[in-house]
């Protein structure tokens, strides 16, 4: 005990209360009381400190939001960084800073923040979506697809369905841009199931189906739009294109005529309409035409194919079968030419088949060797495709 160590002389001189205060148990009690008082004081100080920091953080964050909304990304980044000085781990501050950094095109830094947030909350939809966008912009397609999928199935703070659809639409765009058509079609089918009959969305989906080369679904999406909005130009053009690609030329003609009537400046649709009409006019296999007209169209097609053959300067070696046993297309055309007249066709029904078969072969081969045809040759090629199943 301390009093036992005390020099007796000194101890005698000390007043009684001071001696008492030097007892170790008493000192411990004094320390405890002192500690409690200081802890309470520090608690008050800490409350003040935290309140001030919170207020500063909120103030800078509000400024940052205003700057972000005004697309002043530089200022927003500074504001959010300042806000983070006072609340380093604040999720919202970091997320908004990442958004501002993305706005500044500083995707590397944004990515660092987002990855940190992703570690904390891997199921945050917005974080996944932003990471997907960054990965997409950096050409990391597989990673982007993964983040998009996470975003689609993640939790969203509000407007969950709308944001998921938005994420899926972005994913589809990415897939289409990277020619992943089958995956894009799958995502589109999933998207279509959630969209309902909303004309605007159906129109957008129709356009995407067109890009994904799924013309049947594109047509049906456009038709849903047209049910509600009969004069929707984009839908008419899309439906016309889808019908055209499906070989439904009368239907394509119908939609495209309506589109041209509404939007005369739509040259693409006009060209397509022209081609559809040409196909319809030149197709000798149409049911509603007379025999004479059919024969005339065959003769015309045969002559056009001959011109195409001459113009394309197809090599003599090009044949319908093995080179050694089959004559070349030019030879075949030349040998058949004297027989392909309207009169001969009337006498020999099989001649029409042979003549048109040769026409289609010539158009196919010339399109391979000399490139995609235009005008009447393209119409003949489309007619060939249209009747491929019948050949």
């Amino acid at each position: 005990m301390l009093e036992e160590q005390e020099d007796p002389v000194t101890a005698e001189r000390l007043p009684y209360y001071r001696l008492y205060l030097r007892q170790r148990p008493v000192i411990l009690v004094i320390f405890t009381v002192l500690a409690v008082i200081l802890i309470l004081f520090t608690s008050g100080l800490a409350r003040l400190y935290r309140a001030q920091r919170e207020s500063l953080g909120t103030r800078w964050f509000s400024r940052g939001l205003a700057d972000l909304n005004a697309k002043k990304y530089d200022a927003a980044v500074s504001d959010f960084r300042a806000a983070l000085l006072y609340s380093r781990d604040n999720y919202t501050y970091q997320l908004n800073l990442a958004e501002a950094l993305i706005g500044q095109k500083r995707t590397g830094q944004a990515s660092a923040y987002l990855l940190n947030l992703w570690d904390r909350e891997p199921e945050d939809g917005l974080v996944n979506l932003e990471l997907a966008r960054i990965a997409s912009s950096q050409g990391q397609v597989q990673q982007a697809i993964r983040y998009y999928h996470d975003a689609i199935y993640a939790a969203w703070a509000s407007d969950e369905e709308w944001k998921r659809e938005d994420a899926r639409l972005e994913l589809i765009q990415l897939l289409l841009n990277n020619k992943a058509l089958a995956q894009a079609q799958s995502e589109l089918i999933a998207l279509e199931a959630n969209v309902g009959d909303d004309p605007a969305q159906q129109e957008q989906i129709g356009g995407l189906f067109l890009r994904a080369l799924d013309y049947e679904r594109a047509l049906s999406a456009f038709r849903i739009t047209l049910k509600s909005e009969r004069h929707n130009g984009a839908a008419l053009a899309g439906a016309g294109e889808a019908a055209f690609e499906l070989g439904r030329y009368p239907m394509a003609q119908h939609y495209l005529q309506a589109e041209i009537a509404a939007n005369p400046n739509d040259t693409q649709s006009a060209d397509r309409l022209k081609m559809a009409e040409m196909v319809l006019q030149m197709d000798p296999f149409r049911r509603e035409i007379t025999t004479a007209e059919r024969h005339r169209l065959v003769v015309q097609a045969f002559q056009l194919a001959g011109q195409r053959l001459t113009g394309c300067a197809l090599p003599k070696s090009v044949t319908l079968g093995p080179a050694s046993t089959q004559p070349s297309l030019s030879d075949q055309w030349a040998s058949l030419k004297p027989h392909v007249t309207e009169r001969s066709l009337g006498r020999d029904p099989d001649l029409m088949e042979s003549a048109m078969d040769l026409v289609f072969q010539i158009e196919r081969q010339t399109s391979v060797v000399c490139g995609a045809p235009s005008g009447v040759d393209r119409a003949l090629l489309l007619i060939a495709k249209l009747h491929e199943g019948n050949q």
Binding site: M1, Q5, R22, L38, L45, A46, Y49, Q52, A82, Q109
Partner: protein, 592 residues
């Protein structure tokens, strides 16, 4: 065995400093238990907890003070106005200089050396004014943008509080000497939020030697202070730690490269301090009123020119470097500028610590090396954050020359033990380079510049230690056995001069006897009595070959010959040692 046990425990420091400690049965009575509970050694442990609590609170206030100083002096945002960047450190520098020169002269520098001096020179005495001065001046300096950190001042504040408490408690001199490191550990642990690193640093740099007697108190105070600090400021670390992993062992080469860069940077840093500090101190006294202000102005200029990151402790920028927020070129520039800013701050005599700047430079260098390696060797998969983390340890090992702390600091901060191999590799390389190019560690250098000579753990590590086996001699004479009769023994030593003879006792132990004593006993008619009976209680202590030679010094003046026996078989004699052997060996050692 008894002697051996005594000799083992004798080398340990006294753990019971109270002469009134009640032994045995007295402790079991209620009054005895009550008194035992307040015995100085036990009371010291309780006191350590209070020291930890008070130091933790002081560090919390210190943190508030620094943050408030920053807010009011530099502003609340990240983009500070040039006027503030220039004026805040310059004017603060003037105020600090007046405070230091007029009122708190002991607060210059980091505080680590002052604490060490208190331990070794001033019997643990640190005036309370030192803590007050350190608190005010360091908060002002760090808050206004001087490139200094709060850890070393916290260490000194903790040590001062402990010293004041010790004085008020009228602790014994031994306890008083030890109490400053206890407070130092508490202060550092709270400031750094890393109790293990704080304990290790205090042992490595302040106490300078491993001593079990104080370890418990140091740990208790460190843990208590960290608990208090976390209670108020949260348990989050100073920076967010990125995911760390070592995928391929070949990546260790990249970390070794970081060690080389860190080692060279450490040497540059410490050489700068070694060169500039004495020169500035040698300038006329009136210039010292302006040195901090000039340093502050230069730091402000660096900030205005585009690197405000070098101001203050800079933990937020370490965090950003760890998360890939800067290009590797800018990181390298920041590391260089931070060394410059810290040099200016420190050599001007501004109070503040070097921990944070060291970590800053290490993190920037690490991330820069990582970024450069990624740029030139894109196949490397290690993140810049991992390099930054390892880089902090590298500078710690190379500049502060605390290798143990450097490793544990990174582990403690990251909480990831998979990083241990890269850290050890990089730190070792940096440490070896730094030690090779700058033989004197920075803290020793500073104490010598201040005209003091304090023990250093690094120097102790360098010193050779002599053992008993280095001085012992082979047994020349016959070895007597306790079962022999006196006549047998006399026949055995008949041809010998009078000398000390060792007797192997039964079942254990050794004794010694001279030929003259044997002859005298024989003259008394005890020729048929065994030596064991004659010498039964007169045992000689024995040593083992691996005992430090200083252990032998405790016995060689009382016993002319000491047996050196095997640890595996105490009856097997390895050699003998005498006072002359010990002194001769020390003389040879001293001559090199």
């Amino acid at each position: 065995m008894e002697w051996q046990a005594k000799s083992e425990t004798a080398v340990l420091p006294e753990t019971n400093g109270s002469p009134q400690a009640s032994p045995g049965m007295r402790e079991h009575s209620p009054l005895g238990l009550w008194r035992a509970a307040f015995r100085e050694d036990r009371f010291f442990l309780v006191l350590s907890v209070f020291i930890g609590v008070f130091s933790g609170l002081a560090v919390v206030w210190f943190r508030f003070a620094i943050d408030w100083a920053r807010l009011y002096l530099l502003g609340t945002g990240v983009h500070l106005t040039p006027a503030r960047l220039l004026l805040a450190p310059t004017l603060s520098g003037l105020v600090i200089a007046v405070l230091v020169m007029r009122f708190f002269p002991a607060t210059r520098g980091s505080g680590v050396n002052q604490t060490k001096a208190a331990l070794y020179i001033y019997n643990g005495h640190i005036p309370f004014r030192t803590a007050v001065g350190k608190f005010i001046c360091s908060a002002l300096a760090i808050g206004s943008g001087f490139s200094l950190g709060p850890e070393d001042p916290s260490l000194q504040i903790g040590a001062t509080l402990a010293s004041v408490i010790g004085r008020k408690m009228r602790l014994s001199r031994d306890r008083m000497r030890l109490i400053a490191p206890v407070g130092a550990a508490a202060g550092l642990a709270a400031a750094f939020n890393a109790p293990i690193s704080a304990v290790l640093f205090v042992i490595e740099e302040v106490i300078g030697r491993w001593t079990a007697g104080i370890l418990g108190s140091v740990v208790l105070s460190a843990v208590s202070s960290v608990v208090v600090m976390r209670w108020y400021l949260g348990s989050e670390s100073l920076f967010r730690i990125p995911a760390v992993e070592l995928r391929r062992p070949s990546e260790l080469i990249a970390y070794a490269a970081l060690g080389v860069v860190g080692g060279l940077a450490s040497v540059t840093f410490s050489s700068g301090i070694a060169t500039l500090r004495p020169r500035l101190k040698a300038l006329p006294r009136w210039t010292q009123y302006f040195q901090p202000a000039v340093a502050g102005l230069l730091i402000g200029i660096i900030a205005v020119l585009g690197a405000p990151q070098v101001m203050g402790a800079g933990y937020e920028y370490i965090d950003q470097a760890m998360h890939g927020q800067f290009t590797w070129e800018f990181l390298a520039i920041l590391a260089g500028l931070k060394i410059l800013a810290t040099l200016l701050s420190f050599v001007s005599g501004t109070p503040g610590g070097m921990f944070a700047p060291t970590l800053f430079v290490g993190a920037m260098l690490g991330a820069a090396v990582g970024g450069a390696e990624h740029y030139f060797l894109p196949h490397l998969t290690i993140s810049a954050g991992t390099y930054a983390l390892v880089g902090m340890g590298v500078l710690f090992a190379g500049f502060l020359r605390a290798p143990m702390t450097s490793v544990f600091m990174v582990l403690e901060v990251s909480g990831n033990y998979s990083i241990i191999v890269p850290v050890i590799v990089a730190n070792t390389v940096a440490y070896v380079i730094s030690r090779g190019l700058q033989p004197t560690p920075i803290f020793d250098l500073l104490t010598r510049q201040d005209g003091l000579e304090l023990p250093s753990m690094e120097e102790q590590r360098e010193e050779g230690v002599l053992h008993v086996e280095d001085a012992m001699q082979r047994v020349k004479g016959p070895l007597l056995d306790a079962d022999w009769t006196l006549d047998q023994a006399l026949r055995e030593v008949d041809h010998m001069e009078n000398q000390h003879l060792l007797v192997r006792m039964s079942p254990n132990g050794w004794s010694s006897v001279t030929k003259d004593e044997l002859l005298q006993l024989a003259a008394n008619g005890k020729g048929t009595v065994t030596l064991g009976t004659l010498l039964g209680t007169e045992l000689v202590p024995y040593l083992h070959p691996d005992h430090p030679l200083e252990t032998a010094l405790r016995y060689v003046d009382r016993w002319p010959v000491i047996p050196v026996v095997s640890r595996a078989d105490f009856r097997q004699l390895e050699g003998v040692i005498t006072e002359r052997d010990v002194l001769e060996r020390y003389r040879e050692f001293g001559e090199g």
